[in-house]
Every structure is written in C-alpha cells, then in structure tokens.
Amino acid sequence: MEKEPILELKEICKTFTKTIALDGVSFSLVPGEIHGLLGGNGAGKTTLMNILYGLYRKDSGEIELKGNKIDIHGPRDAIGYGISMVHQHYLQISNYTVIENIVLGTDIDKRYTMKLDSEAARVTELCDRFGLQVDLNVTIDTLPIGTRQKVEILKALYRRIKILILDEPTTNLTPQEVDSLFDSLRVMVDYGMSIVFITHKLREVLSVCDRITVLREGRNVTTLERSQASEEVLVRAMVGDQVNIESSVYFARDTQQGSELESDAKPVLALQSVGLISKDGIARLKDVTFQMRPGEIFGISGVAGNGQRELAECVTGIIPPTSGQITLNGKDVTQTTINELLKLGITYIPEDRLHDGFLPKGSVAQNLILGYHRQPPYSDGRFIDWKTVYQRANSLIREYNIKTTGPDAPGGNLSGGNIQRVMIARAFSMPSSLMVAHNPTRGLDIRSMDFVYQKILERKKQTNATLLISEDLDELLLMCDRIAVIYRGEILGILERSQFDKYAIGRLMSGIKAEE
C-alpha cells in the first residue's frame, strides 16, 4: 500500500514544564486506513493527537496536510482542515437533543425558526450509511455512554471531516458495542476517510487497524503493517526491556488458574439486600447481595455510573446504606463508619483520586498515612511519630517507584500517575482483610499496572479478599475469581471464572438479563 499520505506529522516535540511529553515523534496517515496509535499511559499518544487537533501547541516540528504545511491554532482550524477528534470525555450539552448537539456551531438553513428538518435528514442519512443508529430527538442526558459516543462521531461526520481521531474509544463500551463501533469504522474508511485509533489495548489494535504505530515514553518505537504485527512484537515494542514479560501478569497468555478457594470458608464480606436511596430520592443500589470468600478477587463490572461508586462507599462505610445488611468477617458493620472499618482491616482505593483520596497541599508523607494516622506504628493516638512515618514513607517511595524528591515534597507537585502510586502504596502499606479497589490502575503505565496486579495476587496468597471494581473488562477477566455485573444499581448476574465470557458479560452490562 504505497498511497500518498494525506497527513504527516514530522519530528513533533512538546515539553510540559519539566517533563518531555513528545521527543521528535513522526506519524503519517494515508487515505482509507485505520491507523492504530498504541502505547501505555504516558507514552504521549493523546498529547500528539491533541496537538494535531489544536488543543496544545507544539514546541517544534511540522504538520503537513496533503503535502502542504499547515498551522493549527485551535480545534476550529483543525475542523476547517477536516480533522476532528472524539475525546474520552464527551463535550456535549446534556439537556439538548441529539440533533441540536450535532448541528451546534454550524450554519443551519432556517436560523430564525430553528426547524432542523433538512439537517435531520442529512444526519439520518449518515446514521444509515455508517450504521450509527441514534434517535435524534431525545435529550443527551437520557442516553447511555455508547450512544453518546455515536453522537460524537456523527458530529464529526456531519462536519464532513476527512480525518477522525478516536481517543481510547472502547473505554466504557460493552464488547457488543465495541464490535458495532468497529463495523462503523470500517464503513467510514471504505468511504475514503482516515481514522486514528488511540488505545493501549493490543487485541483491539490487531482486530481493527491497518497500520500500527507504537509510542513509548514520547518516542516512536515502530510502525508496522498489520500483516507484520503480532502480539509478541507489539508487547516488546510497547514496554521495551523494562518489563519481564514471562513473569508479567498483564501479558499473561493463559490467565490465572481458577480459584482453589474453599467455598465453605466463612465469607469475608457479605452483603444482604443492600439498598441505597440518594438524597434526591433516586435508588442508587437495589437489593445487592453477594458474598466474598477469603482470598477471593471479586470483580464488579459495569458501564461507569451504574452504582459502582455508591457500592464502594457503602462497603467502606463512607455512606450508610438505606436498607440491608453488610457483614465483615461475621460482624455486622452496616452502620459502622470508615474510621472504625479502617481499624477492622478495610482499605480503600477511591476512583476519583484527586477529590476523594489526595491532599494536594499535604506532603507525600502526610498523604501516605492518611486514614492510618491514628494507628501504630504511625501514631500512639495522640502524637504522630514522624520519624517512623518518614522511614516508612521513604521505603514506600522506593518500593512503589513514586517519582518525587522525598517524603517532604508537596503532593500537589506529583503527576497523575504518581498520585495513583501514592494511593496504591497507602492501600497496600497496611495489612487488610478486605481491599476495595476502584479503577486502581487508571493512569498507570504498563509496568506499574503489572506491579499492582502482582500485589493483588499476593493478597490472594495471604487469603485476603479484594473487591475489584473496574470499568476495564479485560482487567477483570484477567484478575478475578468471580465477576458480578452491575446495571442501574442492581447486580444482574455473578459469573464464576469457568463461565467467563466477554459477550455474556457485555449483555448484562447493557441490562439484558440471561433468559434462563
């Protein structure tokens, strides 16, 4: 395939205050291809594409469109050149209808009556052509994530763009939705469009992309035709020599052995018909019942916003459930506060690290003891033993590879990935019979993800249970003994490891119960 490239990025460099995000990266796109941009977190994929879309300025380098050098100062320029980008977080006006969101910012035929008939006809035609079925007259906030993504893609198509950039588009989609997205992408390239597909998931790249560019630490590693690519080659390219692939959990070929857990052992955690009604009267959790055995890794799968956070907060005692009972090691803890639960051996990695778990104005050491600051060895209940705290903090910084100048450094200076490492170091620094981990690997590079997985597996050996709530289905399939699927606050099914099936879980994630 020796076509003339439609777009070329040459030697792009970008530095954020002190970190070098991109160090001379080049990238080319030909018409009619899906080009995968693969790399771990922090590899620079999104930064590169944000530069192309005009959200960031490049420090140096050139962008050429059809051989002509262009300057992009903002998304408006990018759209003018036929380039559009769908981010992980959709920029939509939630109380507008689908069609209003799609035409927003473009000229319309009847600008005084706001009758959108002719526009709607065009959008419907696009929907049919690309297999993106959306009801145009419903408001955005009633739609699930997967459909909102279609709206975002339609927005780009409506603007007649030639190049579409998708940033981790499969996050939060069920496997069925992923398949249908890939089908739509195929149709688009058949019409001559070019697509950049940013992801960190190897298998997706291999199933949909024509060419694959791998980035690592802000540099090009390689660009391959799909025929040349294999998982082996891509893994090596993504991680370089830092990770020992043989012992890695992340790249494990045959996933964990099934559980050798005694099923008659006393449950560590048991939820009995737990319900939660929020202040505004909406049921966030409905009749949630499950039990966790010692050493079990119990997964909660579901599209974001279906009650995962509420479930985590009920179990950890941050909000008391409205109904039902929670027992921890045989003790009723339904109304016990987190303060007591931390002493009883619960530990929590919250999803929203910046809001729920981190003190930006506190030092790294202060952050590492949050929640354990009343317990030995850090404190005798009255005074904090800073000498011990600093010793432990130093060893945690080393063990968890937190990049900081020392325990004294202000937390606010840490990068997102390092903040996540602090959360993880804190959670694993104390023995706990139950860990509640909500998206624990978000924002981590592959090496750190692998480290977290190994730590969680270590817990299994010590017969400590882990409640792993994650939006990454692959992560759950890799790690868990059992997976429960949550949909609108309800557990729709619990699958044993032997029954794991992506598509079965995907059906449950979209609210379709098994007909049995």
């Binding site: 950890t316 639960l341 729920d356 778990g357 930006p360 949050l370 600051h373 404190s379 009255r382």
Partner: protein, 335 residues
C-alpha cells in the same frame, strides 16, 4: 526547602516595598533615610522602644494565630476582633466582680473567663456553619459588630468609670493584674503566655494526631472525610480554638496593659493580624516572626509621626506593600 530559600522572597519583598514607599516619602518632601532609620531603629535604640515593641507583639501574634489556625483547616476567621473584645469584657467582668479575691484565685479566673468568652464567640459561627452551612466569613465579620455594641453597653453601664472622659470601666481587682517581668518600663508576663501559646499551636498542628487531622481537613475536606476524619468537627474545633486565642489577647490587654475595659482597646489588631497571617502564608510557625517584624514597624511608625510629622499611614502602606510583594513572589515563582 531550605530556610534560606524560604526567606529570600520575604527579603526581596521587604526591600522592594521600602523602596516603593520611599518614593512617596521623598515626594512628600521628607528625608527618606531618617524616616526609615526611625521606623526600623526605634524598637532597638531604647529599652522603652523595645518593650513597646514586645507589648505590640503579644496581641498581634495571638490575633494572627486566630486567623491562621482556622486557615489550616481551610476556614476563614475574620472575627478575631469580636472574639478579643468578648474576651476582654469577660476578663474585666470577672476582675471587677471578684475584685477582693487573692491573686492566685483571681488571675486564673480572669484568664479563664476571657478565654472561654472568646471561645464561645468563636463557637457561634462554628455552630452556624456546622448546623446550617452558613459561611464563616460572613458570620465572623458580623459578630464583630455585635461585640462593638456589647463593649459599649458594658463600658457605659454600671461599671462605668465616671472620672474617665471616654467609655471606660473601673479597674479590675489588683489580684487580676498579670505579674510584671520588668517594672520600668513596664513589661508584663503576658509575653510568656503568648510565646508559650504560639509554641503550643506549632506543636499541636505539626506533631499531634488531631493536628494532622486539622491539616488534612484543610488540604482536602472530601478526602479527609473519605479516610475517616470528622471534618465538620475539625472545622468547629478550629474556630473555637481561634476564638480562645483572640479571647486570650483580650485578657492580656485588660490584665496586663490597661487593667480595665476601654472602648476601642482592640485597636487595629484584627487587620494587622490578617496581614501577618497572609504574609506568613498561613504558616503557624512563621506567624510570631512576622508579628515581631510588624510590631517593629508599628512602634517605629508612631515615633516617626512624633518626631518627623510623617503620617503613620505611611507605615500602613509599607505593610500592605510587603504583603503584596510576598503574594507576588508566589506568582513569580510559579512561572
């Protein structure tokens, strides 16, 4: 961060603000060098000047701490003035009512009464915050005005000193006077109280578990709550503690300096306390040092007005400029 690096921006800010204010002084036709040597030198030239400075230092430190301690927990106490007045009123009331008691009973009683009254005056906004979520800036400021009315009532009421030309009460019992450290010029033992309290606050916020919770509540209330800290209780506690600190300042003014309640005795300590707290960037350890510096300027300012007829407001401008330049240095460093 080394101490030198911490202090450098302060030094630059001070030099810059003196330079800027010097232009004004020169433009007004005064001798800049003499003005500044008066401002900076008065405190150190005579024993009297030095003791005047220490006497200013006491209430300034306490009122600045009454601002920075809640600030550590992320709350803004602008009510130090009212809390100080209430402390002074309660201390005078105790000192007048039990005037006949011996000093070992009366002095603790006077101190305790004032500290508790200040704490209660801090509890009001704290409770309004806890119960109804009313913003503490508003409530603390408004309570200052209530305290003005109360001091007016007390100073013109039955305890009024008819001989005085200004609303003033009769003196408190002699047993309620703070013992003197130096009798001439007079320096009372409130200085020791203030230094001990400032050290205690520093130890509390940096070494104790409860102090850690206070800092965590200020750094990120949501995260503190998620990790088992009763944040609302820390807010209440910080405001009550601030009230007690300001109340103690009131006690010391009554028992150490005036020996009676005088309307207007709160002076401009609230505003200076805020300035000190902000120049110190809320750091409880830095507060006493900044307070000493501001006390030197204040004493020098009075002397400058007396000897050179330069208005004291000039020094107020210098203080404000120091604050501005310190804040500016933060912005510059972030770039």
């Amino acid at each position: 961060m080394t101490i030198a690096r911490k202090i450098t921006p302060y030094m630059i800010a001070i030099v810059a603000s003196f330079a800027a204010a010097g232009i004004f002084i020169a433009a007004m036709g005064f001798d800049v060098g003499r003005a500044y040597s008066t401002i900076l030198g008065t405190s150190f030239r005579t024993p009297n000047g030095f003791i005047q400075t220490l006497l200013k230092f006491i209430p300034l430190t306490l009122l600045a701490l009454a601002f920075t301690v809640p600030l550590t927990a992320g709350k803004f106490n602008i009510g130090g003035e009212g809390q100080m007045i209430m402390g002074a009123i309660a201390a005078s009331a105790a000192g007048i009512m039990f005037a006949h008691l011996p000093f070992y009973l009366l002095l603790p009683l006077v101190i305790l009464a004032g500290v508790i009254a200040g704490a209660l005056w801090g509890l009001v906004p704290a409770w309004l915050l806890y119960r109804f979520g009313l913003h503490e800036i508003l409530t603390t400021v408004l309570l200052n005005f209530v305290s003005f009315a109360v001091i007016d009532l007390v100073a013109t009421g039955p305890w009024r000193d008819p001989a005085a030309g200004h609303p003033t009460t009769i003196p408190i019992g002699e047993g309620g006077f703070l013992p003197m450290l130096v009798s001439n010029p007079p320096l009372h033992s409130g200085l020791i109280l203030a230094v001990v309290v400032a050290a205690g606050i520093y130890v509390y916020t940096t070494r104790t578990t409860s102090g850690y919770e206070l800092v965590a509540s200020g750094a990120n209330p949501r995260a503190a709550q998620v990790y088992g800290i009763n944040v609302k209780r820390m807010f209440v506690f910080s405001l009550v503690l601030a009230g007690a600190l300001a109340g103690l300042a009131g006690v010391i003014e009554v028992a150490g300096v005036q020996h009676r309640l005088i309307e207007g005795m709160q002076s401009n300590f609230l505003v200076l306390g805020l300035i000190i707290g902000l120049i110190a960037k809320g750091d409880n350890l830095a507060v006493p040092f900044v307070a000493l510096f501001i006390a030197v300027l204040e004493v020098g300012a009075s002397a400058m007005q007396r000897t050179m007829m330069i208005p004291v407001q000039m020094v107020f401008i210098v203080e404000a400029l120091v604050l501005l330049f310190v804040l500016l240095s933060d912005v510059v460093r972030r770039r």
